[in-house]
């Protein structure tokens, strides 16, 4: 029988960072859902007075969230779907916070739209998706499996899309590709074809000459106008014949990011830096067509009149993602909302009938609410003390116990915390946790602890090598700091055994050597510094065996080749450096997966080209096969 272990997360004073990359409001206007670059989804309560408070933060994704959308009709089930940069998709119940379904697909979605036609479709509905792939994907809303694609004559990525639903015309899907081609697919009449996996192509396609199209919206009030927003201008087309009715360009230095239809002949357009503009489209009557080919035909045109605008306060942070929720049913509001990289949500309540000021100039709509996670944290009444707060002095009223790294050693029940000011606290882990959460007693002076002073600034990483590998001396505790030093401590006496001074910027990672190393390497650890260098430190001999400094990109993976005493470093740009630990030379530098450059510093001899293949999962394997490699010579001055 499986035993489930409930986990409790207790938050401190500082809210976790939540860099908003996607934002939506649920149909009942009670919940705001935000997705972040960190991969978390945050649920916020929205009160009827438009007050925001944070409710829950959902963990699960491992990459930045790209989009959010509803995944069912909200009255039936309060489900929201999220998608990330690495293809993960999750369906969440936003009332309970549970993950209903998840998957990982080889597709990166830019946006998802829920579609369901209850009298024609069985099942829970479809998610119509587009992104960094061709055309439109149809994904089952319940199982998250790919059902089908809507293809086109000249397939390409789609930039924006909207579902056209009206009583008069059948449901269609209108999209604009990255090359500015508008495509329209029949949805209602294609339902059977889609369900039978037949090829479904667009029924219409027209080149709009609109590059960087950001949004396309169908006006359900007039059932005639089509709003197309691109980064430099927005345009209104007649949906019946796709004739262009008006164009409005943005101010220099500004960039449009999206828009929505507010009412018949009324639009809201927003920019990528958080501003928005509300226009009324005034009919300028019939005038001569702008297209000479139409001859003397009189065409109706409209021109925009700016009614209102919104502004953002000064403490804004880029980038912005914005959206608009348009509810026609009272008592719901028309809300313009934005989420920022700093984690701030801002709401504007757009009046039902926006009007300009008395003298006709545009009127500013003020911000209704603005809120962040930190605001929610600051409001909390009961605040748990930090786990080692009781051990630190209060200097000038500010605690110094900002813990910047920590490690728990189960065998010794020691909790080691490294702090912002360079101090390292060692205390009993379970005892402290128990006293903190269960007995609620003041701990000052009750529990034994040690304070290690050695770093002059922030402690960035900690490592207890013996914890995972008994080959290491059980008294060794390693700490890395912002001061670019690695200190080897005796954890029992608190004495410094050795200090390695690396002069490479802050130490970012400490790693013990893997088990397949030569016997002599059970005293060796690796550390990575902020200048992307890797230092191999021998703790017993107290020397640095190798400081590999030539990496241009952050280090992603480190492996050892025990047979030849090589350090293999894989970097974020898919380059691989193979270092000889004894000599400190680079034996091989490989760029890309199939190509090779051999570097033999200080020697001009031509070496046999070995075919180096590697995968990110397994590290590097050297395979020897003679071949004439096509050399892609991208050498820079640093590799001489």
């Amino acid at each position: 029988m499986r035993v489930s272990i409930p986990a409790v997360a207790v938050w401190g004073r500082i809210a976790p960072s939540h860099s908003i990359t996607a934002i939506m409001i649920t149909d009942d206007q009670q919940t705001i859902v935000t997705g972040s670059q960190e991969g978390q989804i945050c649920l916020w309560d929205l009160s009827s007075e438009l007050k925001i408070s944070s409710k829950e933060i959902l963990f699960g994704h491992t990459a930045s969230v790209t989009c959010l959308a509803k995944a069912r009709e909200f009255e039936k089930q309060p489900y929201v779907v999220s998608a990330t940069e690495n293809g993960e998709m999750c369906v969440w119940n936003v009332t309970s916070g549970l993950c209903i379904e998840k998957t990982k697909l080889p597709y990166r979605h830019t946006a998802i739209y829920y579609y369901h036609c209850s009298f024609r479709m069985t099942g829970e509905g479809w998610l119509l998706c587009f992104g960094e792939y061709q055309d439109v994907l149809i994904i089952d809303a319940k199982t998250l499996s790919v059902l089908h694609t809507l293809s086109s004559q000249s397939s390409d990525w789609i930039n924006c899309m909207c579902i056209v639903r009206s009583a008069r015309i059948q449901d269609s899907l209108v999209a604009v590709s990255v090359t500015g081609v508008l495509k329209a697919w029949d949805l209602s009449s294609s339902l059977t074809s889609i369900q039978e996996r037949q090829n479904v192509c667009e029924k219409e396609s027209k080149s709009l000459d609109c590059m960087n199209c950001r949004a396309i919206r169908f006006c359900t009030y007039t059932e005639r106008l089509l709003l197309v927003v691109s980064s430099i201008c927005w345009q209104v087309y007649d949906y019946c014949d796709f004739s262009l009715l008006c164009t409005e360009f943005c101010k220099s230095g500004q960039c449009f990011a999206g828009g929505e239809v507010l009412a018949a002949y009324r639009l809201i357009i927003w920019t990528e830096d958080g501003y928005s503009y509300i226009y009324q489209l005034l009919n300028s009557g019939l005038s001569k067509s702008t297209y000479p080919a139409d001859g003397k035909m009189l065409k109706e045109t409209v021109y925009p009149h700016l009614l209102c605008f919104t502004d953002v306060k000064e403490n804004k942070s880029f980038p912005f993602v914005m959206g608009f929720m348009n509810e026609r049913k009272e008592p719901f509001y028309k809300i313009l909302f934005s989420g920022e990289a700093s984690g701030r949500i801002t709401l504007w309540h757009v009046p039902d009938v926006p009007a300009s000021t008395f003298d006709g100039s545009p009127k500013e709509i003020p911000i209704s609410t603005t809120w962040t996670l930190q605001d929610s944290f600051n409001k909390a009444h009961s605040m748990s003390e930090g786990i080692i707060d009781h051990l630190c002095e209060f200097k000038d009223g500010i605690e110094n116990a900002v813990v910047t790294s920590s490690v728990y050693i189960p065998r010794l029940d020691k909790l080691v915390c490294g702090c912002e000011n360079g101090e390292i606290f060692i205390t009993l882990g379970l005892e402290t946790a128990r006293a903190r959460f269960l007995e609620n007693v003041s701990l000052k002076g009750n529990l034994p602890h040690k304070v290690l002073n050695g770093h002059s600034s922030r402690v960035t990483c900690l490592l207890y090598p013996h914890g995972n590998s008994v080959r290491f001396d059980p008294s060794w505790l390693l700490s890395g700091g912002q001061d670019s030093t690695v200190i080897c401590w005796d954890i029992f006496t608190g004495k410094i055994l050795h200090r390695f001074s690396l002069q490479s910027g802050p130490v970012t990672e400490l790693l013990r050597s893997p088990d397949n190393c030569k016997l002599q390497y059970h005293s060796v650890v690796c550390c990575v510094c902020s200048d992307h260098s890797v230092a191999v430190l021998h703790l017993q001999k107290k020397v640095c065996l190798l400081h590999a400094r030539k990496h241009l990109f952050p280090v992603k993976k480190i492996k050892y080749d025990p047979t030849e005493n090589l350090l293999i470093v894989g970097c974020e740009d898919d380059s691989v450096y193979v270092w000889e630990i004894e000599t400190g030379n680079i034996r091989l530098f490989a760029h890309f997966k199939f190509c090779l450059i051999v570097l033999v510093p200080r020697m001009q001899k031509q070496y046999e080209l070995n075919y180096l293949s590697f995968s990110h999962e397994n590290g590097a394997h050297l395979t020897r096969s003679k071949m004439n490699a096509h050399m892609l010579c991208i050498l820079n001055g640093q590799h001489d």
Partner: protein, 286 residues
């Protein structure tokens, strides 16, 4: 205290230098990046708008060394092959076979299309970030560089990572229906981009009889399948008896890859410069 005064002077100097970095150096690097990426984008010859202004056509001869009779002349127009002229000599039959794309047919090379779109995405991110734009925080620059680098890495990966396909997937790809005369059922063709090369693989198959003594083990996905690989397709089992692999360097793909690499290095160097300042004080991103 003396130490405190020194520390605040060092900090003031660091802040001045950081301000200079955000106002001057960042814009210089972004300008350089924009120039390089525009060059890269031109290599992909994206047509001006829709289907007007067709990209120029370039023909490439792909052959196997020492076998003059086996070759393909492929014509690349932007992201699609608009003509493929294949001359194949199959070992068993000793005939010389000739196939070409049907008049109206084009084969889109999705790797090129995706790479082109990623480059344009990177360019779009840098739009409106010229000298007139004021970066307020280092974090803003870092986020911008991360977003640009992500697109450039993806662009490069699309060219360096051909699709891993199973033989049934190659057989059902629709490529077989593009040729005139129609490809015989015992020949499979696959096109892909590998780094800076346009590659063509031709597989000759022989049908496995149900009575065969061979142990049938379907081959998994691969970029290139070897003779002996087996698969089942349309109720018939096959074994690959011969593989022709032909490739040709496409110079503009080579240029594009160099541009991607140089751009990535520029971005990383700028990120590293900004990160140095985060160690001066308690770096709060917002």
């Amino acid at each position: 205290r003396g130490a405190g005064a020194v520390q605040s002077r060092v900090r003031a100097a660091a802040e001045e230098e950081f301000k200079w970095l955000l106002q001057e150096e960042v814009h210089a690097v972004l300008k350089q990046l924009q120039d390089i990426l525009k060059e890269a984008s031109h290599r992909f010859a994206l047509p001006a708008g829709g289907s007007e202004g067709a990209a120029k056509q370039e023909s490439f001869v792909l052959s196997v060394a020492g076998m003059d009779q086996v070759k393909g002349v492929l014509t690349l127009q932007g992201d699609a092959l608009c003509q493929a002229d294949l001359n194949l000599k199959m070992p068993r039959s000793n005939q010389l076979l000739h196939f070409a794309f049907r008049e109206d047919k084009q084969w889109k090379l999705q790797q090129i299309q995706d790479a082109r779109n990623h480059v344009n995405q990177a360019i779009y991110l840098l739009m409106n970030r010229d000298v007139n734009y004021h970066f307020k925080t280092g974090s803003e620059v870092l986020k911008l560089m991360d977003a640009v680098m992500l697109q450039l890495s993806r662009a490069r990966n699309r060219l360096t990572t051909p699709a891993i396909l199973t033989l049934p997937e190659i057989a059902s790809s629709g490529l077989t229906k593009m040729f005139s005369p129609a490809l015989p059922p015992d020949i499979l063709v696959n096109f892909y981009i590998n780094l800076n090369k346009l590659c063509l693989t031709v597989y000759q198959l022989h049908a496995l009889q149900p009575s065969t003594t061979k142990n049938f083990k379907p081959a998994g996905g691969s970029i290139l399948h070897n003779p002996g690989a087996m698969f089942e397709f349309g109720n018939q089992r096959y074994e690959v008896s011969h593989v022709h692999k032909m490739e040709c360097v496409v110079p503009w793909l080579n240029d594009a890859l160099v541009f991607f690499t140089v751009s990535l290095q520029l971005c990383q160097q700028l990120k590293d410069k900004i990160s140095v300042f985060s160690s001066y004080w308690n770096y709060k991103p917002y």
